[in-house]
């Protein structure tokens, strides 16, 4: 009976928009849900550096290259904030240390965002990622700024501040291409064609196929449903595409005057499930890169630790 009371009390507490802090009592499934979500969010930042890093050395101008470098540096920082927030949950028999959760990711036991399993085939893809992928991420993360776990909410505030730079630099890339030669404009259109559906899939399964969402919304971690966020994203993004003079690769897309929303086709869910299961275009490549990085740089970490131990002895 006592436990039921505690859970009810907890739910009432978060329902009043109170923040939970690391040492507060929380239901086990709340802790579990957060460790899973925050660590996978962190992994996404880390793996998300790869598709973009693919174009650092090939960025078409020094200005673009500097912006891309700064953006990828931000992603590393975002990963760090999130691992830090996740680690505050490592109590009561739960492990949440960054090395542990990262290892889970390398072993394929923990996920990262499906979007980063798509390759970047042209410079325009870097623009599309900034505009669409970071745009979708902002929409999701602005919602998460109001989530019930204090350390996660604070990390989101910090991240959202930086993320709008990413989206704007991406849109600017596409705007330049769309005002450029015929060839450049076609390159931009093909990038939109490739990233449109994967970006919409970032919001997750449809509401009726998302069992975790219910719990997440009850605990005030998620504040808005997948479909609702996705709809909002489509509504704001379509006019941005029109401004570029690009067309959305969806023959069924149309504006509904009565609802005031854009209606669009069913998403390619088979593809979504394939990518999540590890069979997307770049899943293997992404994990291999991270596994190799860890393996090859191990000696550097060992050197740093040995040096720190020596320093400690002399002081």
């Amino acid at each position: 009976m006592k436990i039921i009371d505690k859970n009810t009390e907890f739910e009432a507490y978060v329902a009043q928009e109170n923040k939970i802090e690391p040492k507060d009592w929380m239901p086990e499934d709340y802790r579990k849900l957060l460790i899973r979500q925050i660590s996978q969010h962190a992994h996404s930042e880390v793996v998300g550096m790869l598709p973009e890093a693919n174009w650092i050395s090939r960025a078409p101008s020094l200005r673009r290259k500097m912006a891309l470098l700064a953006k990828i540096q931000d992603e590393a920082g975002h990963g760090l904030y999130l691992y830090g927030a996740c680690e505050t949950l490592g109590q009561e028999g739960f492990t949440a240390h960054r090395d542990y959760t990262y290892e889970q990711m390398l072993q394929g036991k923990a996920k990262y965002s499906s979007i980063f399993n798509y390759p970047t085939l042209s410079w325009a893809d870097i623009g599309a990622i900034g505009w669409l992928v970071d745009g979708a991420a902002i929409m999701n993360q602005v919602m998460l700024m109001g989530n019930s776990y204090g350390p996660y909410a604070r990390a989101m505030v910090r991240i959202c501040k930086e993320e709008s730079f990413h989206q704007r630099q991406g849109y600017e890339i596409l705007m330049t291409l769309c005002r450029g030669t015929q060839e450049q404009k076609e390159m931009a259109q093909r990038a939109l064609d490739r990233f449109w559906w994967p970006a919409l899939m970032m919001f997750g399964p449809n509401d009726d196929a998302s069992p975790n969402s219910q719990k997440s919304m009850k605990y005030r971690v998620k504040r808005e449903s997948n479909d609702s966020l996705r709809q909002r994203f489509v509504d704001v993004t379509v006019p941005q595409a029109q401004y570029l003079g690009l067309s959305i690769p969806d023959p069924n897309l149309h504006f509904n005057e009565t609802t005031g929303h854009y209606e669009f086709s069913e998403l390619p869910w088979d593809e979504f499930h394939e990518v999540l299961a590890g069979n997307g275009p770049a899943n293997k490549k992404r994990l291999d890169t991270k596994i190799n990085a860890q393996k090859e740089n191990r000696w550097v970490k060992e050197a740093a630790l040995a040096f720190a131990a020596k320093e400690e002895k002399t002081t």
Partner: protein
Amino acid sequence: MSTLDVWEVFIQTKPGLSHKHAGTVQAATAETALQNARDVYTRRMEGTSIWVVPSKYLVTSEGMNKEAFFDPADDKLYRHPTFYQIPNDVKNM
């Protein structure tokens, strides 16, 4: 292999203000912790001074009974200036 220490980062946004907690970094030495904190938390001119402290040295009140710990503040209203009645005629107080 053992892991790198976690450090708490405090940033002073400008001279005259107190340092505020910004987050954490992982580093082997104090010097690299400071470097990492600079790179991560002051890239956009967010601060003029940084403190880093190994997280393991932090002692916190969390985990204690919050009500009992902070309760004594509750019934001592006489610690607040508004507790004292001063006639309206008395100015500049």
